[in-house]
């Protein structure tokens, strides 16, 4: 089954830059996690996302387009990236999600992907 796992991270984490010395440990934890997930051969797709300030939200109301700067809701944790993985069951997906660094500092959400066909 395919599951999307979404990494919800504290806003401060999403502002970190790759060359910042203080953030070395942070990047290392993600690098280690990602290399494990990919090595397991279960990843179907996945991406990191640009920080929330780069988000634009659009709504169409009464046929008019309303465009707004920022994510649709200001929350303490925001999605920093996602993976689509293919594993046999929810328990396996939970196992991988729990290992993500975001599970310690924020949270990780798991949703089954609607299968086609």
């Amino acid at each position: 089954m395919e599951y999307m796992i979404m990494f919800n991270q504290p806003a401060a984490e999403l502002e970190r830059t790759p060359d910042d010395a203080e953030s070395a440990g942070y990047w290392e934890s993600w690098r280690a996690y990602m290399s494990d997930v990919y090595a397991a051969g279960i990843v179907r797709a996945g991406n990191a996302l640009q920080p929330p300030y780069s988000a634009t939200t659009v709504r169409v109301r009464d046929g008019k387009r309303q465009v707004q700067d920022g994510p649709f809701a200001e929350t303490k944790e925001m999605i920093g990236g996602y993976l689509i993985i293919n594993v046999p069951s929810l328990d396996d997906a939970l196992e991988w999600a729990a290992r993500a660094p975001s599970s310690v500092t924020g949270s990780t959400e798991i949703r089954p992907v609607v299968s086609r066909g």
């Binding site: 089954m1 599951y3 046999p88 069951s89 929810l90 328990d91 939970l94 798991i110 089954p112």
Partner: protein
């Protein structure tokens, strides 16, 4: 004119509905991985049985008959899906049904596995007791919704959502890994405990449906104990429920009023249930792995000694509570501990002192805390404070009989 087989057929279908419903459902759901579809197919199979058996006689292997019909219903339902995996499962179901017909061994019991799925941490804990009652015993939503303080529609919606989650998230029906089994089993017992005590709370309201729920919870506990006869906590758990059950008739007096444990007429207790509970507890003790449910059962068992000796063995009870709070200091255990220590020492103020040391956050809305505090303060002749605590307990009580009982207590100390 009654058809020749009719009475027998109805009795067989009723018996199967109780005994085999959960077995068949657990079996189908584990293979089909869609609990709701398995439920639909099985209820259609039962309906077909009620139609066919009175006319044609009860088949030799009724379970295999039901399984074959349910399989056909699943096959009809899956026609649109055209997924190869589904057809493999259907083929296996057919083989299994033939095996059941040809062999003398009954179908394996996978009901515990189904309960473990219901207790998966991804399922909301508040819906688990109702989910187990519905899936394992076929209890109808309208029979249990009021006990769970929900409307029939609201409970139906929650159950539908929980079953959809089991299907959509692809939950495993295999036995959990060794490391997961203990916590999952604990969650199963917790849910059955909730079902039992919701039924018990309701029972003093005098509604049959609540009484029924209590019996169903005991039935679930028996299913678990049969599946895991060497697990001391599972045996202790069943023993605990049976001790509580043995006192069921004594909880309400002839005029329908509530009678607390210490004032109950021990002659009314069910001695054969008490005996079964003692036996289970000693079986559990022989396994030499103590735990909180065995301690709780032992405490209830000690209260039952009064039926033989006429006296409550408070020192033993206080000792057992001491062990219980050391292991698992729940708010209920701490309150029971304080009361037992007060009675064992003959010093009500010692109990009051222990209650006052508890975390106010936990006790503020916990009715038994205020009832116990009021009771002990009354014994210590601090009538003014006793009354205040009992009034607080009344505010926190939902059951009218218990409210009336506490009001009577207040009147006697004035």
């Amino acid at each position: 004119m009654q058809l020749p087989h009719a009475a027998n057929a109805h009795a067989t279908a009723d018996h199967l509905a109780r005994e085999a419903y959960g077995r068949l459902l657990a079996y189908l759901a584990a293979r089909w991985r869609d609990v709701a579809a398995a439920e639909d197919a099985l209820s259609e199979a039962f309906a077909a049985a009620l139609e066919s058996w009175p006319r044609n006689g009860v088949p030799n292997k009724p379970e295999a008959w039901l399984l074959t019909v349910a399989r056909r219903k699943l096959s009809d339902a899956a026609r649109g899906e055209a997924v190869r995996e589904r057809h493999d499962v259907l083929a296996r179901l057919l083989e299994d049904a033939e095996d059941v017909v040809q062999s003398d061994t009954p179908m394996g019991d996978e009901r515990l596995r189904l309960m473990l799925v219901c207790a998966h941490p991804a399922i909301d804990a508040s819906v688990r007791p109702a989910l187990m009652l519905q899936l394992v015993l076929g209890v109808e939503v309208k029979q249990m919704s009021s006990a769970f303080l929900l409307s029939t529609e609201a409970l139906t919606k929650r159950l539908v959502r929980a079953k959809a989650k089991i299907k959509l998230t692809g939950m495993r029906f295999e036995e959990p890994d060794e490391a997961d089994l203990e916590p999952r089993l604990h969650a199963v017992l917790e849910s059955v405990y909730a079902a039992y005590f919701i039924g018990r709370e309701g029972a003093t309201v005098g509604e049959d449906a609540h009484d029924q729920l209590r019996s169903e919870a005991v039935y679930l506990a028996r299913v678990i104990a049969t599946a895991l006869p060497a697990n001391s906590e599972v045996l202790g758990f069943l023993s605990l429920l049976l001790f509580c059950e043995s006192r069921r008739a004594a909880q309400v007096n002839a005029s329908g009023e509530y009678v607390p444990l210490l004032e109950q007429d021990a002659a009314v207790w069910d001695h054969s249930l008490m005996r079964s509970a003692y036996e289970l507890l000693s079986e559990a003790a022989a396994l030499r792995t103590p735990g909180p449910y065995q301690l709780e059962a032992a405490i209830q068992g000690a209260h039952c000694y009064r039926a033989h000796s006429g006296e409550v063995p408070w020192r033993e009870i206080a000792e057992l509570y001491e062990q219980l709070v050391q292991r698992d200091a729940t708010v209920g255990a701490l309150v029971g501990h304080a009361v037992a220590r007060a009675y064992a020492s003959g010093d009500a103020l010692l109990g009051v002192q222990l209650l006052r040391e508890m975390d106010p956050e936990l006790t503020r809305t916990y009715q038994p805390y205020w009832a116990a505090m009021g009771h002990l303060l009354g014994l210590a002749r601090d009538y003014q404070n006793a009354r205040r605590c009992l009034e607080r307990a009344i505010e926190l009580t939902c059951q009218p009989q218990v409210k009336r009982y506490l009001q009577r207590v207040i009147r006697t100390i004035q």
